[in-house]
């Protein structure tokens, strides 16, 4: 092979211009953006409806006597009517067929073993009891952490878990806490699942945190919550 042909074969191919690189990336990014926006626009209403149905299902599961519900939000110490798209902390009040207040469905979340565990739990201000929960999000270990939805003994803790508010309406009377399996002595204690202590503790911590934050505000606004559905019906009737 001659020297000139050797040099020719060792030559690197010419580099493309910056314009060529930028225009390729720009074109691909534009195609990408177009596809993402197209599919987002199409699926967004369906996803929102799915989320609404999931929330609705969870609310009526934790408040089985309710046949309708209203959404509220917290503004410092007061509770205001809202809708499902309102930003911030949402609270749901359940009402029976006669528009009587049956209880609240509240959100709670805490770090579990794998990731954040999110619950929606039922709370009866009249008795100060937490009456059950529905798991909204959990990626806990199958067979262990997932027992919080299936373990009959653990779920029995929530037949009436004491979450009463003190007389000053500032906090819970007792701290809700998870105790070692088989050592529960008080109605505000949660008997942990053997082998799933971290997830059981997360449930206790999140209910305590949410209870301290939300239950006093609910107690202060109980009259408003009780009459909200009837008031809304009357206003709707007058407008009609």
């Amino acid at each position: 092979m001659s020297d000139s042909s050797k040099n020719k074969s060792n030559e690197l191919p010419p580099l493309p211009t910056s314009f060529s690189l930028i225009s390729t990336l720009g074109t691909v990014a534009m195609i990408s953006g177009f596809l993402v926006v197209l599919v987002h626009q199409y699926t967004q209403p369906i996803i929102a409806e799915n989320q609404r149905l999931a929330t609705e299902r969870a609310i009526f599961k934790v408040l089985p006597r309710a046949s309708s519900r209203l959404t509220f939000t917290i503004n410092e110490d007061t509770i205001e009517l809202a809708n499902d798209n309102t930003k911030g902390e949402l609270l749901y009040a359940g009402y029976d067929k006669e528009n009587n207040f049956v209880g609240m469905a509240l959100n709670a979340a805490e770090q579990g073993y794998q990731d954040i565990v999110k619950l929606l739990y039922g709370y009866k201000p009249s008795t100060g009891c937490i009456t059950g929960y529905d798991v909204l999000k959990s990626t806990e270990t199958p067979g262990f952490g997932t027992k919080i939805t299936t373990d009959v003994a653990f779920l029995a803790n929530f037949n009436c878990l004491d979450a009463k508010v003190n007389q000053e309406q500032t906090r819970l009377i007792n701290v809700i806490k998870t105790v070692r399996h088989g050592t529960k002595n008080n109605p505000w204690e949660i008997d942990a699942i053997s082998g799933a202590t971290i997830t059981s503790n997360a449930v206790g911590r999140m209910l305590n945190k949410s209870g301290h934050k939300l239950h006093p505000v609910i107690a202060k606004n109980l009259t408003f919550l009780r009459s909200a559905k009837q008031t809304k019906e009357i206003i709707h009737g007058q407008l009609d």
């Binding site: 580099l15 493309p16 990336l25 990014a29 195609i31 699926t43 996803i47 270990t141 199958p142």
Partner: protein, 223 residues
């Protein structure tokens, strides 16, 4: 600017079937093992992850193949990642629209399809060098092979781990589930067992072929 298009081999059935068995991405090439081990604790999850991967693999390979002559070599990986991430975002929205429960079960593994080396590997090794039709057919075969492997793992793990298949009870209530099967170690155990079985079958098949070959040689020599 463009990648040179070499003389291509013709489109045959082999292009499609190679990914399903002979070059199966999981059992032969051992690619994309993270979702293989992580989400195969039930058939439903395995099937959903497999189909999501098929969608991303086929669409990204189709687009990459269609644009292969316009993508400069220097920015090819960046471009492939943008294309793959686009289709992963689409599949993320689509699964949320189909079922929130399924979306929550699959967790972050849907988004992690972006970094599945099977998809980027096929884009770089195949779609960037072959025609549109061949890239799509090959991606479909690879995707189905990947799904088949996921379902094979998911089936065994769900059956032994909870005594069910696709949510239907198979074993009687007396069956004591092997919880380990639906935990991460179960993924390794079942994958190892499948590899053992598949390699055993393959070795026996190859051994038989060699023996037949030798026998025919011997008979020719004797004659």
């Amino acid at each position: 600017m463009a990648n040179s298009t070499k003389q291509e081999t013709p489109l045959t059935l082999e292009v499609f079937t190679a990914g399903i068995w002979k070059e199966n991405p999981v059992f032969v090439m051992m690619l994309g093992l993270c979702p293989v081990l992580a989400v195969t604790n039930s058939v439903e999850n395995s099937l959903a992850m497999g189909l999501a991967s098929v969608f991303v693999l086929v669409c990204s390979n189709a687009l990459i193949s269609a644009l292969r002559n316009f993508i400069p070599k220097q920015v090819r990986i960046t471009t492939y990642i943008i294309i793959i991430a686009t289709f992963v975002t689409l599949v993320d929205y689509i699964i949320q629209a189909i079922s929130l429960d399924l979306y929550n079960k699959l967790g972050a593994f849907i988004q992690l399809i972006v970094v599945n080396c099977l998809i980027l590997g096929r884009a770089e090794a195949y779609a960037s060098k072959n025609s549109f039709a061949k890239s799509v057919i090959s991606a479909l075969g690879m995707g189905l092979g990947f799904t088949l492997a996921l379902v094979m793992l998911g089936g065994v793990r769900e059956l032994l781990g909870v005594g069910q298949l696709m949510g239907y009870q198979i074993f009687s209530t007396n069956f004591q589930p092997w919880i380990i099967m639906i935990l991460p170690p179960g993924g390794f155990i079942v994958l190892g067992s499948w590899l053992l079985l598949i390699n055993y079958i393959e070795q026996r098949r190859t051994g038989k072929l060699i023996a037949e070959d030798l026998a025919s040689h011997c008979s020719v020599n004797n004659h």
